[in-house]
Every structure is written in C-alpha cells, then in structure tokens.
Symmetry: C2
Subunit: 284 residues, 2 copies
C-alpha cells in the first residue's frame, strides 16, 4: 500500500457515486487523513449528522466548499450573498473546517442567475467589498477565508479572480497577514499555466497565506470546460515541481484531490480512492 | 447599410462554407476592407493565385495566420519549425500581409505531435529563442511578427504565452521598439478576462507594438474549448471599452473578426458577413 501522506479528498470527486455519509466512511476506511465537503452535500446529509460523523472518524476537514459568489446586479442580491456567506462560515465552524474556500463569482447576475453586466472591473470591486465584509464576520468567529483563483475560462460565470497575483493583491489590501484570517487556496488546475506561479506562491507564503493546496491534472485534450479534470499523472502538469514551490514557501498542509470528471464519476468509488492514494504517492 | 469602418475578416470565420477564393471574392463584394488568410487555405488555393486575387480586389491583408509552434523535444523538431516559419514569412510577404501572426506553441512535442514534456518554463525559453531567431530572418525582409497571447486554456497544446504581460516581456527582451518588427496581436477572446489588460495595452502602445486587433465574443456558457467563440454582441465582453483602450494607446489599424464556431460555420456565409458588418458597426 502506498504512503497516504498528506492526502485529503474533496467530496466533489465522488459526488455522483456516493452520498456524503458514504464518502466520509469510505475515505476514513481507506486511511486517508482528511476530507473537504461541499455545502450541497452537507445540506442533503444534515449538518449536525455530518459534523458528528466527521468527528467520530477523526478526519481533518481541509476546507469547506464554498462561499463567495459576491457580485450581484442590485443590493438585494448582494445582501442575499452576504447572508448566505455568513451561513457558510457558521457551517464551516460546525464541521471544524480549516478554512472556507471562496469562489468569488463572475459578472453580476440578476435574481434568476442571468449575467446582466459586462463590467468585470466592477465585479472585481464587488468581490473585494464582499470579502472585506465577510472577513469582519469570519475573523472574530475564527474561520479563515481562502480565496481560490479560478482558471480564466471561468472568469465570466464563476470567479473573476483568475490569478495568484490578483488574489495576493486582494489579500494585501484587505488583510496584510495570512495570520489574520484571509489567505489563498492554490488549485493547480486553475493556476498551473501562470508564468508568475512560482513568484506568487512565494509572495503568498511570505505572508502566511497558503491555506490550501488542491491537486488534479490538466488533460490534453480537455473535452469539457467543467467536468474533464484529470487524475494526477494523466495530464501535463509538473506536480512535484509545484509541490516543491509550495513547500519551499512554507506550506505544510494537506494535499486535496478535487477532480470534476465524468470519466472518474463513472468509476467504482473505491477504485477512485485507491487511484488517488497511489497517484498521490507516486506522481505528485 | 451600416458603416463598414475598420472591419477585416479572418478567413477561419468562413472556412467550412467556402474555399479561400470564394471568401476573398465574398468579402470584397460586401465592401469589407481587409482579409486575414490562413496558411492551409492559401496552400489549398495556391499562393500566387491568392496573392494576385487579393491585389485585384484591393483588399488589405490585416495579418497572415500563422507562424509559431516553436517548442519541440529535439533539435530536428526545432529546425523544422524554424524552416517552416521562414516559409511562412516568405508567404506573408508574397500576399502583402501587415504582419505574420505567431501562435507560439505549447509544451514540447515529438515528431508525431505528441506532448512529451511537462516543462512549461523550458517551452517558454524555446519560444523566446525561436522568436528571436525568426526575427533575424523577418526583419531584414520587412515582415513584422505579431505575438498573439492565447487564452490560458490553450497553454499546454497551442501557446504558452497567455497574457499581454508575457508578450510585452518577450518584446522588451527581443526587440524593445515595435518599429523594429516585433509586436503583439491583441485578440479579445484570449485576453478579455485579464485584470492587467488595460495597463498592458497601454504598455504595448507606448512601444508601438499594437500590430493587430482581433474581435469576437466570449459566450456563457462556452460549450467547447475550440469552436464555440461568439459573434460580437452575443457574449460578455465589453468590446467598446477594449476598443477605447486600443485607440487611446495609439492603435489605428483594422478590426479583425475571427470566429471559430460550429454555430456560425453552419450559416450561409453571406449572412455571416452581413452579421459581422452589422455587429461591428453597432456593438464594438
């Protein structure tokens, strides 16, 4: 059996095969150290029940997915986002998550979730304001917020923070030290291509902002913008190199496998977990 | 009839409906000012014949697509790329193109065009060296080279220059002034998301590097990584804003419509051209 090391599993990786209770049990049975659940899965399984099950298994919670989605076209929408994000902080505290991951949102939408503005600079201002406001709620409560830069192909509809540099800039403005509750989730799927990646990981590390490290791989060809992420080793990312940058910058946390993939969702979930363990040990 | 203004048509926009001779004739008949042909279409129609036909129509050639693809795993591959790029320069001169557009290539491939390296930093060095070498051939011949940053979703397989900042850095290193033959093709499909876009357009403009401006739109959802670009006005890009940045930075060239789209390839080509004219006049 390969060494499990710092492995943790984002529950999206198995969301089509198992409900959350089965995922938690399966991950724990395999000896994996942690889990990172999604809100919709937690809501379906029951927050208190999930929190109790996680405590019983002794699993770490490497992150809670997700808060964010700040931009909205009117004040009603922004207030709804604020309130929903506060609930996400509360839930993250209940399940004992290391951090609440923020997918910050793209262009402003209306109440029916239709994009109704092309003002991406304005969206980025709403994101800054939204994170700043949420930080006032999360920091006293003791929940860290992790900005996750998403790949630029999601800039319009999911997250208009698309580079580590932008995430670092936001942190500089809102919360200069990561010790004060605002940092970054580095997901190699989103940032592997960036020529500034090494420098921006170093910049984040110097301010104690490296809160999470998500791994998978970039496939060539990538057949779908959403659900064709690769298992580690099946794509083109130099995972050991990026890991070495994270570690040289002070990161000592878990390595979270998050794979949205129709191909892996069609596999037996125990096979997926065994593959995650083997690949994590061998190619990352 | 709307004002045609600075409109020019990249021939990929009509490549499934018409051969190149029909495209040139159709574009000229509509009163459009320019064209930007692809090498495979030119080869199929015959270089001399195409050059003569373009001269007869009086069309401008806003760019020639494309050179580049510099990285290769061995010297044989890199020499083959060098020679092919020199031929592309010769062809661009024959048809009187404003510039040769460079899609620089992604991770190194072997002779069978399989990616065989994960060293993206090394690929970027090959790109720098390849452009520098090609510049020595193109500059004395009088053909400008336009680096086209491609969207990060193409970093692995098509181009590992993915931001305006990176293209500007390459220009700074290889050819400090755009008056000496190396510049940038700004394609909004690839760069619209970049929070540095305005600043990097200004930086390029200050060095006379703005060689070309390509327009289309980013659709939400985007259903395919390659062939789901949008017609201007159908997506989320604030085209008048980006155009204002180009013009404020000194760009006075043509506006090249380049749309890879199964949806538009299924339309009558005259309808596509009429739509390009109307949208260019109304929403860009």
């Amino acid at each position: 059996m390969p060494d499990i090391g710092q492995l943790t599993i984002n529950t999206a990786t198995l969301r089509k095969q198992w409900g959350l209770k089965d995922i938690i049990a399966g991950v724990a049975q395999m000896g994996i150290r942690g889990i990172a659940p999604w809100r919709d899965q937690v809501a379906a399984a029951g927050l208190k029940e999930v929190a109790a099950q996680i405590r019983d298994t002794g699993l770490a919670v490497s992150g809670y997915c997700r808060g964010g989605m700040f931009p909205a076209i009117d004040r009603t929408g922004r207030l709804a986002a604020r309130d929903d994000n506060r609930r996400a902080v509360d839930e993250a505290l209940t399940i004992g998550a290391e951090c609440l991951v923020l997918v910050v949102g793209g262009l402003p939408k209306d109440g029916a979730q239709r994009i109704v503005s092309k003002d991406i600079a304005g969206a980025r201002e709403m994101v800054r304001d939204g994170i700043g406001e949420l930080l006032e709620y999360a920091r006293p409560a003791g929940m860290k917020l992790a900005i996750e830069p998403l790949h630029p192909m999601y800039a319009a509809d999911r997250a208009c923070v698309n580079t580590m540099a932008h995430a670092n800039d936001l942190c500089d403005e809102l919360c200069p030290s990561g010790r004060d509750g605002l940092g970054i989730a580095v997901d190699i799927y989103h940032v592997w291509w960036d020529p500034q990646l090494k420098a921006q990981i170093e910049r984040a590390g110097a301010k104690d902002r490296l809160y999470a490290y998500h791994i998978c791989d970039w496939l060539v060809p990538t057949k779908d913008l959403l659900n064709d992420r690769g298992m580690m080793g099946d794509g083109v990312v130099d995972l050991p190199l990026v890991r070495s940058w994270m570690e040289a910058s002070g990161y000592r946390g878990l390595h979270e496998v998050e794979i949205f993939s129709e191909r892996w969702w069609a596999e037996d979930p125990r096979t997926v977990l065994a593959t995650c363990i083997e690949r994590h040990a061998r190619v990352t």
